[in-house]
């Protein structure tokens, strides 16, 4: 029996589909070919946030998705609108963020004619989307949207783009929303192979120096509870990657902090001396492994991942388990017992005591690490979003994340300008949370136009600019590897950030001395307004420790006070 249908335009059908997918917020920017859709959005029961640059729409959808676990949605017009989404889509792809990007397109009959504002966006986004669609018939719209949300949010999550020629949005169709999808080429493996799980449990039983290396997959799979259970059951220390921050409570005695280039010494030492590495929802990124040939040289490797293509991609794996992290960890806990790790845990305790993260404190000049500590003390359950660079590393190192989805950062692509719009998305998704964008003075200037968006929509995010007058991370590399030749990394005095905030109608605050740090943080939180805090920080503070690119992760440089 066929379900009842209703005749409507493609644009109307799109809105109905978004209702069916329970989309409450979309981020976008209108344009010529989107007029029929925007006319429907005008009185639709969906909150549309008008950004000031399409790239921010994609990043905001990304931040919304990471903060809530729901699929983020953005929309942009054809041509430049669509190409402006590209960085945001690539960013979501690299970090496996569920997103549906809608783009307008010139009418079907003009496709391929180099028409006004035409760009082959499905071609352009082929390598940076999980899948994409060019809708060729309005009748296909409900099926395609159903599939897009399904693909984006299941398996290894990721962005899906739907390109909508204008005539598709004005053509009529008999609307009915499919109840299920039929994709014979797409069947993600959720349940791990139980034999492999038992093999992994046997490996764990034999291990004396285990390390759990967990990443963003834990957060995507909502598996942090299972991760904690496994760690406490087998008594193994846990290191979480940049995108995995929050997957394991930072104040837990088994926590090692972040591994890799700017990881803690004890996390890196632990990996290097481990006899068993239990990798979950990670992809052995080069920023974690350093020189692959010297990575965890004595360890057997268990790799749990939803994406079979990640198994043995960079590092040889002894026991692969393809499946959803939550499912696999849950069953692994059932088969696992405490391993003989007492001596190992003592050694790690010793390392932690001997090599803590630290910086040289000051009463005169604001140390960036100190700001992170103060934000953490003032508001430990805030959502911390970051831009990319030194401040991002300090945030990851010094904030004590307690729960998943509270650290939102561009890990894989390393996109400057990500944080502010992503913070907008995060705040709209989690209005109950205080949301900080920890930013650099360089990164913030890549999206500062979104101050208009936060003021217009009264979105009280707090931008904490670590203003050192440099493109700091590049400067650090120039200092260390290019003889202090600061080629085009000096941006001191770009703009008065307080006045900039005020010009948009946001609250602008400044702190120049350590004693002013906590009061401005408190003032920003109390104000309940969109706020920019200009922290004037030690200009040449370096991120430490550091493993130089291409070195083994136990070849660590100390950079405090350099």
């Amino acid at each position: 029996m066929s379900r009842p249908t209703e005749k409507m335009t493609g644009a109307r059908a799109l809105i109905e589909c978004l209702y069916k997918e329970e989309v409450d917020t979309i981020f976008g920017y209108p344009g010529g070919v989107l007029l029929p859709i925007y006319d429907e959005l005008y009185d639709a029961d969906i909150r549309h946030i008008l950004v000031r640059h399409e790239q921010a729409a994609a990043h905001a959808a990304d931040g919304y998705a990471r903060a809530t676990g729901k699929t983020g949605v953005c929309i942009a017009t054809s041509g430049p609108g669509a190409t402006n989404l590209v960085t945001g889509i690539a960013n979501a792809y690299m970090d496996s963020v569920p997103m549906v990007a809608l783009t307008g397109q010139v009418p079907s009959f003009l496709l391929g004619n180099d028409a006004f504002q035409e760009a082959d966006i499905t071609g352009i986004t082929l390598p940076i989307t999980k899948h994409n669609y060019l809708v060729q018939d309005a009748k296909e719209l409900p099926r395609i949207i159903k599939e897009a949300f399904h693909i984006a949010s299941t398996g290894r999550q990721g962005p899906v783009l739907i390109d909508l020629p204008k005539d598709i949005t004005t053509d009529e169709l008999d609307f009915s929303y499919p109840e299920s999808v039929e994709l014979r080429g797409y069947k993600p493996t959720v349940k791990g192979n139980i034999q492999q799980v038992k093999r992994a449990a046997a490996e764990i039983a034999r291990s004396t120096n285990p390390v759990i290396y967990a990443g963003g997959g834990i957060i995507n799979s909502n598996a942090s509870g299972e991760l904690l259970k496994l760690a406490e059951t087998i008594m193994a220390p846990v290191t979480t990657t940049l995108t995995g921050m929050g997957a394991f409570p930072a104040d837990h005695p088994l926590f090692l902090g972040m591994p890799g280039m700017h990881g803690t010494k004890y996390a890196n030492y632990a990996i290097q001396e481990s006899d068993l590495l239990i990798a979950v929802g990670v992809r052995f990124d080069d920023r974690v492994t350093g020189k692959v040939a010297s990575f965890a040289p004595n360890a057997r490797v268990i790799h749990i991942d939803i994406d079979p293509a990640e198994i043995s991609k960079n590092v040889r794996v002894d026991t692969p388990i393809v499946g959803d992290a939550k499912w696999v960890l849950e069953s692994l806990v059932k088969y696992s017992k405490k391993c003989k790790s007492e001596a190992w845990l003592d050694k790690i305790k010793q390392w932690k005591k001997e090599y803590p993260l630290h910086y040289i404190k000051s009463d005169d000049i604001i140390k960036p690490q100190y700001i992170v500590e103060q934000i953490c003390e003032a508001c430990g359950d805030a959502i911390i979003v970051t831009e990319v660079g030194q401040h991002q590393m300090w945030a990851a190192q010094y904030f004590k994340f307690k729960e998943p989805r509270t650290f939102i950062t561009s890990g894989g692509l390393g996109t400057m300008g990500y944080g502010f719009p992503a913070a907008i998305g995060a705040k709209l998704g989690r209005p109950d949370k205080v949301v900080f964008d920890i930013a650099g003075d360089g990164s913030f200037q890549m999206s500062s136009q979104e101050l208009a968006t936060v003021v217009e929509n009264d979105i009280p995010v707090i931008v904490a600019i670590f203003n050192n007058g440099y493109l700091g991370m590049v400067r650090q590399w120039q200092e260390l590897f290019f003889e202090h030749r600061y080629s085009f990394t000096t941006i001191k005095g770009s703009v008065d950030f307080v006045k900039l905030a005020e010009a948009y109608g946001a609250l602008g605050l400044r702190a120049e001395k350590p004693s002013e740090v906590r009061p401005v943080i408190e003032e920003a939180i109390a104000s309940g307004r969109p706020t920019v805090i200009d922290f004037i920080v030690d200009p040449e503070e370096n991120v430490s420790p550091m493993v130089p690119a291409g070195a083994a992760i136990n070849e660590i440089m100390d950079l405090e006070g350099t």
Binding site: P127, L134, R184, G185, P308, A309, I311, S312
Partner: protein, 161 residues
Amino acid sequence: MKHTLAVLVENRAGVLSRVSGLFSRRGYNIDSLAVGVTEDPAISRMTIVVRGDDHVLEQVTKQLNKLIDVIRVTDIKADEAIERELSLIKVAADANTRSEIIQIVDIFRARIVDVASKSMTIEVTGDDEKIRAMEQLLRPFGIKEMVRTGKIAMTRGAKSV
């Protein structure tokens, strides 16, 4: 080492560029790629000859399987399969050389599909080795043009991919 992959895909616009784009961006080398519709008009079959060791083959297979439009990937082992390729070769020919060329064509069980006063076009079917041998023998006469379909392959016996 060469591997022959049979890849069943949805017969849709853009699938070929998804597959070929994957190969180029991940740095895999394709020797040949042949594609056509199957007994089911909704499904196309690609035969891809790819060069690389077992690790590369494993990665290629997994990455192909990640494409939503890819339904199944099978590694076809040469000793369990029928492999064929077709080539058209246009060779310079006149009254003096024509009969010699016809002899070569006969030996190879190829076919002459076009004859003109100064050329002949030969259709040859076989494996890579046979086509190359044919090419070698015809080269002295002057090959004016040559086109190859790329290899297609099918497993022997009742089993299908």
